[in-house]
Amino acid sequence: MDKFEKLTGIAAPMPLVNIDTDMIIPKVFLKSIQRTGFGVNLFDEMRYTRDGAEIADFVLNKPQYRSTEILVAGDNFGCGSSREHAPWAIADFGIKCVISTSFADIFFNNCFKNGILPIVLPQEQVDVLMADAEKGENARMTVDLEAQEITTSDGEVISFEVDSFKKHCLLEGLDDIGLTMEKAAAIDTFEAAAAQARPWV
């Protein structure tokens, strides 16, 4: 996994609440058995007409947002299905950070596994960042994971919380499975004890 350190990039506004994973990547694109190539279909039904033409007023189709790296989104982003194709599509498009007042749990976890930083902030602060993102390509925000700070294009600094373990994994680009395998002895011990206690499992 790529390391996430400090990101300065264009932020796009998507104020709609309850953006679900079917919107992020419709199921017709879940049939791939690869992890890559989903970016072109990110937000497909909002982004293209049925015949594949771009819908001009969709935010990521606007010239100033075509290289978006940060998404500022409405409440409860990523609700619905567990499909990791959603963060795969977001990452494949080039978005590395999503900011909202809340995220659905499964989506939130999936982001960290794919080098994407989801940031939860109170409504007032999301409003500030949404307004900043509305400015277009001149509004380049900076997200500093180490310092846990977002700097708006006006220089306003907003700090955010992040789970310490997840932060560590993102900063170092660590593979969860490798980390867990280092605890194989603990798993072995637990498994043996559980097999004694609940042999029917």
């Binding site: 079917d22 299905s81 042999p199 029917w200």
Partner: protein, 468 residues
């Protein structure tokens, strides 16, 4: 010892390792796998030379892509991509040696119906699957939740999941349900109350008399949609209803093991005085048959209601409601019972079990669906299908004009050929009414099986109580 919730007890019994910051390794008893969210995980194992740590605890079944029409063994019924995905599961199941129910097996079906039916799901277990509706298994008092594909790979390799403990939420449904009100109405009414984000960060325990009175099928319906309220998992404490359902199933414990299991299962309840971080209480008598009008499961109203005005909402929901109403082709103030539908879908992991089909048969027996209506009933598993045929339900459905299909996820998410066309409007017993969920520009109204059956007869969203 301080009193514990049911969730606390299951969590504690599966904690394999806990770091100082609370990051924990939770041991997983059952890992269910389907074809859509697993190929990249198996590929990851292959690339790193890792094995499946506990293939005997891993159960795979194709369900999302499979056609539900007769003759589906013919590969021509699937698109090339669907074929590849199902073939990949075939190969992976064999190569890694996990339990497998292929399309040709009569036990094949939706993973969340097959697991309980085969006795893989038992009280007090941890159950995961790369599918958000894994919450279904919580009906047994098992801690069950959906995971992403990276986590699928993690569980395959280590039989554990990296977790932080969620908060405890209690949803109590007191008293009795009124006639015509079902488990589906309970679960939708709860989401209507809490919103789709209300359960985020929580594990819900459903309790109260109305929950206790439900069959296992009904409890599965309730827990299935915990995720639609934002909660990764929903739980119901096991009781005699649970034990009676589990007893005798192929993978349930037998003999002395059964007795030992039962002794432990009987300790699985929330202790008096245990702390809940959030409590929601609904009166069973107040719950009415409900229907969704919008494109989020929280857009729910009693069938006697009218399409709301977006201005009645606050904040970001105003724009979301406006967008929903436009997408759904509705008018604020329109009576819900005036909404005409052209399609009915009965099935899914929410409502694809035998009890659901009995409820449908009761409504449609001896009647005909409305002219021009496309109505399909898709059993949740091959065994549900067999049972419905043995009970004579299938004949009732066919005579009423329903298509009687083979088992799979079908039009719940429309990854197989069962889809809505642009502008079609469906009364569905499934779990999501998202834009495009059942087909591009298709419109979905979520309802109970009995309400879907009533709509098939009248051609409109219908108050089931008027047909009783």
């Amino acid at each position: 010892m301080s009193p514990k919730t049911l969730y606390d007890k299951i969590w504690d019994a599966h904690l394999a390792h806990e770091a100082e910051d609370g990051t924990s390794l939770l041991y997983i008893d059952r890992h269910l796998v389907h074809e859509v969210t697993s190929p990249q995980a198996f590929e990851g194992l292959r690339m790193t030379g890792r094995k499946v740590r506990a293939p005997e605890k891993t159960i795979a079944v194709p369900d999302h892509n499979v056609p539900t029409t007769e003759g589906r063994e013919d590969p021509a019924q699937m698109t090339e991509e669907s074929r590849i995905q199902v073939a990949a599961l075939d190969t992976n199941a064999k190569e890694f040696g996990v339990h497998y129910y292929p399309v040709s097996d009569v036990r094949q079906g939706i993973v969340h119906i097959v697991g309980p039916e085969q006795g893989w799901t038992l009280p007090g277990m941890t159950v995961v699957c790369g599918d958000s509706h894994t919450a279904t298994h919580g009906a047994f008092g098992a801690l069950a939740h959906g995971i992403g594909t990276s986590e699928v790979e993690h569980v395959l390799a280590t039989q554990t999941l990296i977790q932080k403990k969620s908060k405890n939420m209690k949803v109590e449904i007191t008293g009795k349900l009124m006639p015509g009100v079902t488990a589906k109405d309970i679960t939708l009414a709860v989401i209507g109350e809490t919103g789709t984000g209300g359960g985020t960060g929580y594990v819900i325990e459903y309790c109260g008399e109305a929950i206790r009175d439900l069959s296992m099928e009904g409890r599965m319906t309730v827990c299935n949609m915990a995720i639609e309220g934002g909660a990764r998992a929903g739980l119901i404490a096991p009781d005699q209803t649970t034990y009676d359902y589990v007893n005798g199933r192929p993978h349930a414990p037998k003999g002395a093991q059964w007795e030992a299991a039962l002794t432990w299962w009987k300790t699985l309840f929330t202790d008096e005085g245990a702390h809940f971080d959030k409590v929601v209480t609904l009166k069973g008598e107040d719950i009415q048959p409900v229907v969704t009008w919008g494109t989020s499961p929280e857009d729910v109203l009693p069938i006697t209601g009218v399409v709301p005005n977006p201005e009645d909402f606050e904040g970001g929901k105003v724009e979301a409601a406006r967008r929903s109403i436009e997408y759904m082709g509705l008018t604020p103030g329109q009576k819900l019972t005036d909404i005409e539908i052209d399609t009915v879908f009965i099935g899914s992991c929410t409502n694809g079990r035998i009890e659901d089909f009995r409820a449908v048969a009761e409504v449609v027996k001896g009647k005909k669906i409305k002219d021009g209506m496309r109505a399909m009933i898709v059993p949740g598993s091959g065994l549900v299908r067999l049972q419905a045929e043995e009970e004579g339900l299938a004949d009732i459905f066919r005579e009423a004009g329903f298509e009687w299909r083979l088992a799979g996820c079908s039009m719940c998410l429309a990854m197989n050929p069962d889809q809505l066309s642009e502008g079609e409007r469906c009364a569905a017993t499934s779990n999501r009414n998202f834009e495009g969920r059942q087909g591009y520009k298709g419109r979905t109204h979520l309802v109970s099986p009995a309400m879907a059956a009533a709509a098939a007869l009248t051609g409109k969203l219908t108050d089931i109580r008027e047909m009783m």
